[in-house]
């Protein structure tokens, strides 16, 4: 569906779909600004969870009975819906995982088996621990080199430095599409082109992307793209690894068990084809089906209008926060999504977050699982407000007033 055929973007109408937003905490209307951690769920996803367990619960891919067939069909329909949404060539390229972390670990283990001592992997200085630690583990296991592409103080990737690191030894570049801490949108298309020029594959950590912007894996030409359901309005415990078919075909299975096999004997086992080769055991069936519902919801949203609204919110918040004495915005990339991370001189982020919470405002405080990035800025952590398309300027006004009150109490 082209964007122009969709309903006009209306925050008011979208908010009505999210029951979690209509509640009070500590006697105040909830303001949910922790969307970088997880998103709230629309009614159609909640209904789908209830419907699945009430009426359709059965195991998939193996039952002859009605319910099993129905669950299997819905699970596979969901896979196809996701394939279409991110414009993958085939549904076989959509692997269901537990989430972004699981997807990265799968690639680190399985693609890692194809690598040899002396090969190199490049990540960036702004990666989440999930896109650092699996590579460190792989490097230790296989004797590979891990190189870190640096960033500037604004939180932008230093493209020239990155290019200098690329060589024939580079076998994989693993980089985030959008930084969870800084909101930086990385120039991943350029990164992918440069990496491909030396024959390296590229994994994009998309945990912070699909909820904010349209992603087209064919246009990006990335080799792997990973994301989590719970950040894109679906249930927790499920996510997606997109991988190019020819690469996935060459990769050995990650986990062994049911569903991933073709034929098992004690002497020799042959593996199932894609995507099942990478989906051992009974999966999160309800999760997979309901993630499909979340994408159905996303299809109904004019994403370019939603993205504009989110960026307007961040700009609006930053313009006000800039006037606060001693407040520093962390992450000032030119191309930035709706994440506003900041510190206040002399105050600990934990204290600010605790007082905001008691005023009904949910933000995240701390290092956001990016400790090396905190070391780079020489700060213990930040307060992070991360907006979704259901947030409003009025909420930001309330947040600003609550922040002013918190700061005056703490000073």
């Amino acid at each position: 569906m082209s964007e122009s055929n969709k309903k006009p973007f209306s925050v008011r109408e979208i908010r009505e779909e999210f029951p979690a937003l209509r509640q009070q905490i500590y006697g105040k209307n909830l303001i949910y600004f922790d969307n970088g951690a997880t998103s709230q769920k629309p009614q159609m996803v909640l209904d789908a969870i209830n419907k699945f367990y009430s009426k359709e619960n059965a195991n998939i891919h193996r039952g002859v009975h009605f319910m099993s067939q129905k669950a299997t069909t819905e699970y596979e329909e969901s896979r196809k819906r996701i394939q279409k949404y991110i414009n993958a060539r085939k549904s076989e390229e959509i692997i269901f995982t537990k989430g972004t972390t699981d997807g990265i670990n799968l690639v680190a283990y399985s693609y890692g088996e194809l690598l040899q001592a002396g090969d190199e992997i490049i990540i960036s200085a702004m990666e989440h621990h999930s896109n650092i630690v699996p590579w460190q583990m792989l490097c230790i296991r296989k004797g590979l080199g891990l190189r870190i592409a640096p960033i500037n103080k604004k939180g932008e990737l230093l493209m020239e430095e990155f290019e200098k690191m690329l060589s024939k030894k580079t076998k994989l570049v693993a980089i985030t599409h959008i930084s969870n801490t800084l909101g930086t949108v990385n120039p991943i298309k350029e990164v992918i082109e440069k990496a491909h020029a030396v024959g390296a594959k590229v994994l994009i950590d998309g945990a912070q992307s699909i909820q904010h912007t349209r992603v087209d894996v064919k246009d990006l030409n990335c080799d792997f793209y990973v994301f989590s359901s719970h950040k894109v309005f679906g249930p927790t415990g499920i996510g997606v690894l997109y991988g190019k078919e020819d690469i996935l075909d060459r990769m050995p299975p990650y986990q062994g068990g049911g569903d991933m096999i073709s034929r098992v004997t004690f002497e020799r086992t042959t593996y199932n084809e894609l995507p099942f080769k990478f989906e051992a055991g009974t999966p999160h069936i309800a999760g997979g089906i309901c993630l499909g519902k979340a994408f159905e919801f996303l299809e109904s949203i004019d994403m370019s209008a939603a993205e504009k609204h989110e960026r307007d919110l961040a700009k609006y918040a930053e313009d006000i926060l800039d006037t606060f004495e001693g407040l520093h915005i962390i992450g000032e990339a030119k191309n930035k999504t709706s994440v506003v991370s900041f510190t206040v001189d002399g105050l600990h982020p934990f204290d600010i977050g605790t007082l905001l919470d008691k005023q009904g405002i949910a933000v995240r405080t701390g290092h956001h699982c990016t400790q090396p990035l905190m070391d780079f800025y020489k700060i213990p952590g930040t307060v992070r407000a991360s907006f979704a398309f259901y947030n409003t300027r009025q909420e930001i006004d309330t947040f600003v007033a609550a922040l002013e009150k918190s700061i005056s109490m703490l000073k």
Binding site: Y26, F350, G366, M409
Partner: protein, 137 residues
Amino acid sequence: MTIEEKQQEIISEFSMFDDWMEKYEYIIDLGKDLPLIENELKTEDRLIEGCQSRVWLESKMIDGKMNYSADSEAIITKGIIGLLIRVLNNETPKSIVENDLHFIHDIGLQEHLSPTRANGLAGMVKRMKIDALKNIS
């Protein structure tokens, strides 16, 4: 005053507050009043690592009674530490080990002791008790 009497006193103080912000205003004031630990005492062995804010604890035994001093990077954590010190200081190791610190729950601050809160407080309460236990002969 016994540990239990001190706990009851704090519970009654907190019952006078109408809302959360008043409670926190009081805790923040306690945090500001608590003397800082000298920097040379902020050593690795006194450090209780939280995910978000670090806490240091110094325990001493003086005349058969425990004497604690502590510090945190976060002022709210420090205020709660102030309450813990008020309850446990100048008490015998035995009574510290045996008494249940229920007042934190009763004044509604139990969230600060949950392991997910990761502010080092849960670890500090445990360390205070362990240090007392070490001093039971």
